[in-house]
């Protein structure tokens, strides 16, 4: 029965990871920009959760506020900096976004400080469901999984079934043609980037109560996201979902079965995938 709980743990971690990685793979797939600062948005979200919850008093009001702030940040960033990277080579993108990481980390340090913080779980979600004779499963973690699933479904529907999604897909496969057909590519790019930032920040916000808010959290999540994108294939949301869940399982079960190598397990997985599918599981060559 305890295996079930470990499965729940794996799925919850995987889904949260998907939320962050989806932004990264979208930005990459649609704009061709490799964004190292993506982990920083996750961190910013967590700190936003902490600060806003302190200010408004509970997480429910903090969440929508945080999403809006993050989206605005994304828009501003895209217009000011990211736009200049679309036609630059990847090295410059890497370096500029690396500089951004440093800037974000220090700004956070100046504004909020470097302490570790915890965020209080809202009372309704504070309980635990007894699942075995010894163990209960925190309701909040179920909430996280549910929200991530809902968002994943929403993303899929938006991209596959709406006009906006059609424009995004058109812009991804042939920007010039889409532009000449009257689609405002600049606006699409800004929207996608802002959405990516908001997704990562939102993930950070809902994860904050279970992961704590600490300075290094952005960097930690970034690397795993990269692995997700490599395994799943750049630009593929389906790939990101599958890869995230795979990693969730590898990491969780690795920790209890082969603890010494748990950290390495994720990269071994990536190496194996690369041997057989150099473009990722669902990548386009």
């Amino acid at each position: 029965m305890e295996w079930l709980i470990q499965i729940l743990n794996s799925v919850q971690y995987g889904l949260l990871l998907f939320l962050v990685a989806s932004g990264l793979t979208l930005i990459f797939g649609i704009m061709g920009v490799i964004n190292l600062a993506h982990g920083s948005f996750y961190m910013i979200g967590a700190y936003l959760a902490f600060s806003l919850t302190q200010w408004t008093g509970n997480l429910w009001t903090a969440l929508p506020l945080g999403i809006i702030l993050a989206a605005v940040l994304g828009l501003v960033l895209e217009r000011l900096l990211i736009e200049r990277l679309y036609h630059r080579d990847h090295l410059h993108q890497v370096l500029l976004t690396f500089g951004l990481i440093l800037v974000f980390e220090e700004l956070r340090s100046i504004i909020v400080g470097d302490d570790v913080h915890s965020v209080v779980i809202p009372a309704i979600l504070g309980g635990s469901l007894p699942l075995t004779e010894n163990l209960s499963y925190p309701v909040y973690r179920l909430f996280i999984s549910a929200v991530c699933l809902a968002l994943a479904a929403a993303m899929y529907l938006t991209i596959q079934k709406t006009r906006l999604g059609m424009m995004i897909r058109a812009g991804a496969s042939n920007p010039e043609m889409a532009q000449s057909l009257g689609i405002n590519i600049r606006w699409i790019h800004a929207l996608v980037f802002a959405a990516g930032v908001a997704l990562a920040a939102f993930a950070g916000m809902i994860a904050a109560p279970v992961s704590s808010v600490f300075p290094g959290m952005g960097n930690q999540v970034l690397i795993v996201c990269f692995v997700v994108v490599v395994i799943g294939g750049i630009g593929s949301l389906k790939g990101a979902l599958v890869a995230s869940l795979l990693i969730g399982f590898a990491d969780t079960f690795g920790k209890v079965l082969v603890p010494e190598l748990a950290g390495v397990a994720v990269y071994l997985l990536m190496a194996i995938v690369l041997l057989f599918r150099p473009a990722g599981l669902f990548g386009r060559g």
Binding site: F28, I34, L36, L81, R84, H90, L91, H92, V94, L95, L96, F98, G99, L100, I101, L102, V103, E105, E106, L107, S109, I110, N219, I223, F226, V227, V229, V230, I234, E260, L261, A262, G263, V264, Y267, L268, M270, A271, L274, L275, P278, A279, G280
Partner: protein, 323 residues
């Protein structure tokens, strides 16, 4: 023309650096030693990024592997044998670069960047999560390696300084020669247009792998020296932050010009020392500086004259009404 520039700069640089300890305090001699070691690291990456067009975001892995090899091979309280431990560390780095390289050269473009990063992280986590070498606390090396020649004592900071200077000059000359050789020319050709090179009959993957291993080995040399100097190794030596920093040094100095690697390293570390006296949040200044450099001066300091000349030329053209 290029050769004359290189030779002049090399001689001038060596002269200045050789003279430096006579003027400076012990702390600054140590600082410049550290900068010279990092220059070797940057030079090795320049071979990959600047000349072969392979953007590796995981170069610090080979730096760290060599450092850890020395730490693991060094006896508990006696000095390690330089002539045994150096080749051993270089071999370890080379081997790691070979294994990882074989996997990553199958990818290209952005995938290449991401997988080099991810594999370096694997090496990082291996040393960080296991107790093979002290885990996140790191390991220390009791005494510096001994060269076995009575007159030379590496524990003396001054002797160590000159040895590093000699090695830096050696690596510089070695790379300059390699880049002028057919092998080096082929690499530069691959950077410009890999498909064309393949059409001409070059086995580009093998060339890339060779460059990767050579760069990894030289990074290992830097790592060995760093470990010998500090007497302490720690997984952060191979963190991707370190890989990012060395890339920054390259772009600061100018990629694809060996001199740029050295200038970039000196500039970065000196900037760092300066910024940290200004504020404890000096990384903010550094980050901003990098962003500005990438946006406005992508050719770096070594390419500054070129960038300025091009700007003024295009400015003139606009003034004169040319397209």
């Amino acid at each position: 023309m290029r050769t004359r520039t290189l030779v002049l700069s090399l001689l001038a640089g060596v002269a200045v650096l050789a003279f430096f300890p006579a003027l400076a305090e012990k702390f600054y001699v140590q600082l410049v030693t550290k900068i010279m070691i990092l220059s070797i690291f940057a030079l090795s990456l320049d071979l990959l990024v600047g000349y072969s067009g392979l953007v590796s975001l995981g170069h610090a892995a080979y730096f760290g592997v060599a450092a850890y090899t020395l730490a693991l091979a060094a006896p508990a309280s006696d000095p390690a044998n330089f002539w045994l431990t150096l080749p051993l560390s270089l071999a370890a780095s080379a081997f790691t670069a070979l294994v990882i390289g074989a996997l990553v050269v199958r990818t290209s473009g952005v995938y290449f960047i991401m997988v080099t990063l991810a594999f370096a992280q694997m090496v990082y986590y291996f040393f960080h999560d296991t107790r093979v070498a002290g885990g996140s606390d790191g390991m220390y090396i009791d005494t510096r390696p001994s060269i076995g020649i009575a007159a030379v004592d590496l524990a003396d900071d001054l002797h160590f300084y000159y040895m590093v200077l000699a090695l830096l000059a050696g690596v510089f000359v070695l790379l300059a020669l390699i880049l002028r050789s057919p092998f080096g020319r082929a690499l530069q050709g691959i950077k410009v247009n890999e498909q064309r090179m393949r059409a001409l009959g070059f086995a580009t993957r093998r060339y890339k792998l060779a460059a990767f291993v050579l760069a990894g080995t030289l990074a290992g040399l830097a790592g060995y020296l760093a470990a010998a100097k500090e007497g302490y190794v720690n997984p952060e030596l191979m963190a991707w932050h370190q890989s990012g920093v060395v890339l920054m040094m390259l772009i600061l100095g100018g990629m694809g010009t060996l001199l740029g690697a050295v200038i970039g390293t000196f500039s970065y570390v000196l900037l760092q020392e300066w910024f940290s006296t200004l504020t404890k949040h000096w990384l903010l200044l550094m980050g901003g500086f990098i962003i500005v450099t990438v946006l406005l001066f992508p050719q770096g300091l070594a390419g500054l004259p070129r960038t300025l000349a091009a700007r003024s030329r295009s400015g003139l053209r606009e003034k004169n009404g040319d397209a």
